[in-house]
Symmetry: C2
Subunit: 467 residues, 2 copies
């Protein structure tokens, strides 16, 4: 039983090479329930491992079929070996977050082998505060990062007393059963796949859109703030990368960001971008590598359903992207925040004056070089369309549990690619904003310094806003 | 400063693909010295990591030079990052040998990236008996497995009180300084590289050798015991492999093997092969996959210097290989041991009637298909020249220490290749014979069962020999 792999997923499989694994990851931190015994983590591992039936998404693997002239197809793994996919590991003493991030960096650096289903999960014990961590890795051909994290969250409960809860990869009796052909489940805000799909498939419709796009392009060429950036400076982030990764993660109370936003007339998302801007500025200054002109970030933005006539085929929300000038050349934190706010407002206005299909296509124009470049075996990018991607994805607002274990943090690990060595993805959860920074270990040295810079920048923004 | 990579090493680099990493490994077990504190393993890790100067062998990485039309060259890593190479990890509870072997299996399954020097070492804590483990991984293009283990052993001392001992990758003040060009150190019994080198370079001399080789080939074609096997049956071990590995390891007192050998008029090496034969027989029987005819093992044998006029260029001993019929079709353990003894004696006689160069060339004929096949991108082997490789490499006879930590066991991890999914390498140390079994995790299912079979076979041989 084989099924052709759709062009988008094929693109992610073929774009992959040893320097550029195409998987997304998630790090989840749990607190053990009260009364958990010494063997709690092993029991949790065994619950995750001993699953009656695996959902089809987690059973299929890519295969080049000779029957179909080398076309990539999905095929169920007839020798499925759950112990290869669900793993149990531990941190060396002293078991700080530092050791956890180091382990996640290493786990995120290895590729998924095509002869098996394209996912792994590692239950991690040995944190000195007694918490339990889970690192998960899923190939982008299966599911995008946001969907992967939502899939993990979808098995959680708000009830701390609920037990007998399934693993994320278990077939769920109550849930709508995925198609037996192992097709992907409905995408939940599939940013990258969506935009690439747009670039590949909606090009014809988009080709006929002169109005807003030409206006936007014109403004962009005049280097005004715009949804499309043609003037991102070259930075150390925009080089070819190696296969090894560094991951850094931390969270801050959303309340602190909200207070800054309220006092300064900006949004929480603006404050997130200002934290990133200040942190990158400090980081590049230390390396004596700050460009004179502002760095540009690609920021995916959701389009509200009522604004968007384009229902994505699987019911997800349409997503566009705005190129935001981060103001990294400005020395004052308040000036950076104001510049980001302006850039974002202008960019969204540019977006809203177009039809949704035009928005998707335009977003794809910006993003396609970075995603498709490697697929076309381009090496290096002469002129980066933007310097990095910063995503901010809303998550659950309340406390969630898995079989009594309280989820206390959830941090995304994403995909650096050639020309885009750093990716920052944030997700909100239970009153926190959780940052996940994923970089090429060589191209982005000492990435963990960014955590201190992010914290310092939030404090600077608070001072500037007088909160 | 770049240097061309020699053809043998280039072969190992080019033969590599994601299903067939070309690195060798070693697992060493240490007992902490008396009075070791809680932070002992971290201190040991830091001693291994904080090295003043790294030896050139461990600083060079392969690079395709545009200047030299894509030829592979060694180049020093200008951004050498010791933390990428020397790692600290831990076992989940309960910290049994089982958890250790599982971790080593995983570590051995990931490829070394070419953009960095081709080695890694992981200090592993969390064994419940308080011992400390070290897993090392070195690319075969740098050093063969035997040399890698000897290199590790070369930093050890017989003095439990010696301190301030260097890490294996440290530049040693007293040692002969390797050439500044980062060339490999003298090879110490480089079996595979030696035979491949023979196949590639000595072919012209070997082409003129009719006598012994033709006699050997004739006997082989008549399917008599011979140094060269043309009649190995197809088994599940002789399939294409995947990139994931399973590692199993255990040791037995050499005294037990010696007693069996003495009582049966055979050698310790014969008893090793008989243990392997009985274990593989039991393993294949369980899988209902035992061929009617005997499995054939390639067994590297050292040639004594006085028998060998061929001094290997770097002072190592010359090595030949014998194809040993393992007698896996015989139900009786004593019959299997007797058959192995005969096959080995005959094989060695075949070897000793040739000149050393002819021996090397003939050994290369047997081994070249397995090593060179993948390099030539052949997929699968129609008729395996032999079914598996069993090596037995002598090691130190006395107790050794590293900064007071007592080495209690040392187990080799080797390289399964397409058509040879299982490799068994033994090394002796301090009165023990340490077995390391490395298999493709998928092609050789439940490899750890072999450990029980090896133990049962040794007991059966003891009963048969009346010891």
């Amino acid at each position: 039983m084989v099924n052709p792999i759709d062009p988008t997923a094929t693109g992610f499989l073929l774009a992959e090479n040893r320097n550029m694994p195409m998987h997304v990851g998630g790090l989840q931190l749990f607190e053990k329930p009260e009364g958990a015994g010494r063997g709690y983590v092993r029991e949790m591992y065994e619950q995750m491992r001993d699953v009656d039936e695996i959902a089809p998404l987690f059973l299929k693997h890519p295969h080049r079929s000779a029957r179909t002239a080398g076309q990539l197809v999905w095929r169920p793994d007839e020798q499925f070996d759950i112990e290869h996919h669900v793993r149990h590991s531990a941190l060396p003493k002293p078991g700080r977050i530092r050791e956890l991030l180091e382990l996640c960096s290493r786990l995120h650096s290895t590729r998924l082998a095509w002869e098996r289903p394209l996912w792994e999960a590692t239950i991690i014990e040995g944190l000195r505060d007694g918490r339990v961590a889970m690192y998960t890795k899923t190939h982008h051909a299966l599911v995008d990062g946001v969907s992967a994290m939502r899939l993990l969250a979808s098995v959680l409960s708000t009830d701390p007393d609920e037990r007998d809860m399934p693993a994320p990869w278990a077939m769920r009796p109550g849930a709508p059963r995925p198609a037996a052909d192992g097709a992907s489940p409905p995408s939940l805000g599939d940013v990258s796949a969506q935009t690439v799909r747009a670039a590949l498939a909606i090009a014809s419709e988009a080709a006929g859109m002169p109005g807003a796009l030409v206006r936007t392009l014109n403004r962009s060429v005049r280097n005004e703030t715009s949804a499309l950036s043609l003037y991102a400076p070259r930075t150390i982030l925009n080089q070819n990368i190696t296969g090894s990764r560094r991951f850094a993660a931390q969270d801050w109370p959303i309340e602190r960001l909200r207070a800054v936003g309220k006092a300064s007339g900006t949004t929480i998302n603006d404050v997130v971008l200002a934290m990133v801007s200040g942190a990158i500025r400090a980081y590049l200054l230390e390396l004596d590598a700050l460009p004179d002109t502002t760095l540009v970030s690609m920021v995916p933005v959701g389009l509200k359903a009522k604004e968007s006539q384009l229902a994505s085929s699987d019911g997800g929300n349409a997503v566009g992207s705005v190129m935001v000038q981060l103001g990294t050349h400005l020395p004052d934190p308040a000036d950076r925040l104001a510049a980001i706010h302006r850039s974002m407002v202008d960019g969204k206005q540019g977006l809203s004056s177009m039809t949704p299909t035009q928005i998707l296509a335009m977003s794809a124009l910006g993003q396609a070089p970075a995603i498709l470049g490697p697929a076309l075996r381009m090496s290096g990018i002469v002129r980066p369309p933007y310097n990095l991607i910063v995503s901010n994805v809303p998550g659950p607002r309340t406390t969630h549990y898995w079989n009594g274990a309280r989820l206390v943090g959830t941090y995304p690990l994403s995909i650096p690619i050639n020309g885009m060595a750093l990716n920052i993805t944030c997700t909100s959860y239970d009153g926190k904003l959780c940052f996940g920074l994923t970089g090429c270990r060589r191209t982005v040295p000492r990435l963990q310094l960014m955590l201190g810079h992010l914290d310092a920048e939030l404090r600077a923004l608070e001072r500037a806003a007088g909160v």
